[in-house]
């Protein structure tokens, strides 16, 4: 993967809206390299700048400073109609006066491609998104999921170098969204086109992406594979945004961290105050007084079907959550008020840079 050439790149991109003192930086010095053929996701809460970055790549906005490169070529000031990049819009933005087939052929028509080629491509796209019987329908006669497919086919038809997807699944219900996630992944594999996908849904990002850039407040917080980001979050924001996490603070002498509740963990870190994160499924619950276990009391248990979340109070009053698989061999049948021991496996603890 690392040998693949770079498809799109943002270099020190800054985008400020408004002027002077009221200017808001939607993007603050963002640099990112997206590789060819990659399913790349920009993940973050609303207002984090992910859509702005997408619009810079599409050409709908010009960066205040910095550069956008496509295949190594500077396209920062190229208008959107001159960029070999297509977008699937959140609202789909299908042309209501045109049929499904005319919508899909629109980009090719504007490029003045030969009739025969347009006809052939539109037919191929209709087959790709399984909408052949709908070719001559108006888009308003289609369901949400079908409109989504038309939007995809329309953006893929001109074979863009990069396909940009702006929260395309957010308008669909859960079942349809799951189907479209698989569909999108299939389309990406079949076409081999670089996908840049914007979402605020961490689960969507984890299941679909080759790599994810987690964004917050106009910055990229971490870029990496879903596994990297989940198991080795770079900072507190990433750790809390992706999945559930327990945060623990303590003091380190370099080789051992003494937590605020008095428990000690062997961990090589920088000296001084440290922040640690551990996923609920990594905590091990054992009988009180077991070797290396810190004491805790069960505050409540929540049953989730596949697992149970055990909320625990530590001796210093702080709360953490442990997840127990059901059925788990040796899992304890815990009730509120029970005393337990908690083991923090050192290899599951993440040291956060704050």
């Amino acid at each position: 993967m690392t040998t693949m050439p770079i498809a799109v790149e943002a270099r020190n991109a800054v985008k400020a809206f408004g002027q002077g003192a009221v200017a808001v930086k939607a993007l603050d010095d963002v640099s990112v390299q997206i590789r060819q053929g990659e399913f790349f996701t920009l993940l973050g809460p609303s207002g984090c700048g992910k859509t702005t970055l997408l619009r810079l790549i599409a050409g709908f906005e010009t960066p205040t400073s910095g550069q956008i490169l496509l295949g190594g070529e500077d396209i920062t000031h190229l208008p959107p109609n001159k960029r070999p990049v297509n977008t699937v819009f959140q609202s789909y933005a299908l042309f209501p006066h045109l049929t499904v087939a005319q919508n899909i052929g629109f980009g090719l028509e504007m490029q003045n491609r030969p009739r025969a080629e347009i006809k052939e491509t539109v037919a191929r796209m209709l087959a790709l998104v399984q909408l052949e019987p709908m070719a001559s329908r108006k888009t308003s006669q289609l369901s949400g999921g079908q409109q989504q497919r038309v939007a995809l086919a329309r953006a893929l038809a001109p074979t863009p170098k990069v396909l940009l997807l702006d929260e395309p699944l957010s308008a669909l219900d859960l079942k349809l969204r799951k189907e479209m996630q698989i569909e999108l992944k299939r389309l990406q594999m079949e076409t081999g086109i670089t996908f840049v996908f914007v979402t605020h849904d961490q689960e969507e990002a984890l299941t679909m992406s080759d790599r994810i850039a987690v964004m917050s407040a106009g910055h990229i917080q971490q870029t990496g594979s879903p596994r990297d980001i989940y198991t080795r979050p770079a900072n507190r924001f990433v750790a809390s945004f992706i999945g559930e996490t327990n945060f623990l603070t303590g003091k380190s002498d370099g080789r051992q961290v003494v937590l605020h509740n008095g428990a000690a963990v062997d961990l090589v870190t920088k000296q001084g105050a440290v922040s640690l994160a551990i996923r609920p499924e990594q905590l091990r619950l054992v009988a009180t007084g077991s070797a290396g276990a810190m004491p805790a009391r069960v505050a409540s248990t929540v049953y989730f079907g596949t697992d149970t979340h055990v909320h625990l109070s530590l001796s210093d009053g702080s709360q953490i959550v442990a997840r127990q698989q059901i059925p788990a061999t040796g899992a304890m049948d815990l009730k509120t008020g029970d005393e337990v021991g908690v083991i923090l496996p050192a290899d599951a603890l993440q040291v956060l840079e704050d």
Partner: protein, 267 residues
């Protein structure tokens, strides 16, 4: 089915009030139309059915001239007004909200708010000085005057149409390799066309119907149908006026029906 929820239509007297209103609205028009087919000279005493007054009106050179001028002015004025209104509607809706937006709306819709008689006097004085200076007395003054007061009538349906249109559509067109002109030609224009046609028809009807401003601005021998009829009323009233009115009514109803069909919301 004892539905006791409040409904205005069930209040005592509702039916009779509604009925009275409809009678007041339509009875005079029905009378007008009926007497256009009167065989006699009167617009009040029925003497039998005939199409004589339609023939009389059709053969009257003054009516022919007035009809020609009315149609020419309405066609030219609505064409100018619709073009201006289309550009105004594009300028005020195909963008993010801007400062002074309400002020601009008020400016565009000025003719709806200023009393017509004031506009008429203003135009009379304004054009009089131009007529003196240039010595030109053609229909162009009437066309300009009509175009001016027709703009808001053309503007409102076009704007309504554009406001219901997703701003992302042009962005999507640009994303799909359309130049500014292509995006307008293949996306914006076809989508706003029903609004433009509706606006043009409304402007046409409004121009066709105008009396006050026309009466003030016209030069000698420039009667339109409405001002010709007004002139006739000052002399002897014959069912000829009824016949002309009936034809005007039919034309207006036809255009307004088309207008409503065009502006009707889909499904």
């Amino acid at each position: 089915m004892a539905d006791r929820s409040f409904e205005v239509a069930r209040l005592p007297g509702f039916r009779s009030i509604a009925l009275t209103a409809f009678v007041l609205l339509y009875l005079p028009i029905i009378t007008l139309v009926v007497y256009s087919f009167n065989a006699g000279q009167s617009v009040a005493v029925w003497e039998g059915f005939s199409l004589d007054w339609y023939t009389t009106a059709w053969e009257n050179e003054a009516v022919k001239g007035a009809t020609y001028r009315s149609l020419l002015i309405a066609a030219s004025a609505s064409a100018i007004a619709t073009t201006v209104a289309t550009m105004a509607a594009l300028g005020t809706t195909r963008r993010k909200a801007f400062k002074g937006q309400t002020f601009i709306y008020v400016m565009i819709n000025q003719p709806l708010m200023v009393p017509e008689i004031v506009t008429a006097v203003a135009l009379l004085i304004f054009f009089a000085s131009i007529k003196v200076a240039t010595g030109y007395n053609g229909l162009i003054y009437l066309i300009i005057a009509h175009a001016a007061f027709c703009i808001p009538f053309a503007y409102l349906p076009i704007r309504a149409r554009l406001e219901g249109m997703d701003l992302t559509l042009e962005t999507a067109a640009a994303d799909l390799y359309a130049s500014h002109w292509q995006a307008f030609r293949f996306v914006t224009l076809p989508l706003m066309l029903p609004g433009i046609i509706a606006g043009a028809m409304l402007a046409f009807v409004i121009s066709l119907d105008d009396v006050v401003i026309t009466e003030f601005v016209k030069s000698g021998g420039q009667d339109t149908l409405p001002t010709y009829m007004l002139g006739q009323m000052r002399r002897a009233i014959t069912p000829e006026v009824n016949a002309i009115s009936t034809v005007l009514l039919a034309l207006t109803v036809l255009l307004l029906t088309a207008f409503f069909l065009l502006t009707r919301k889909k499904d």
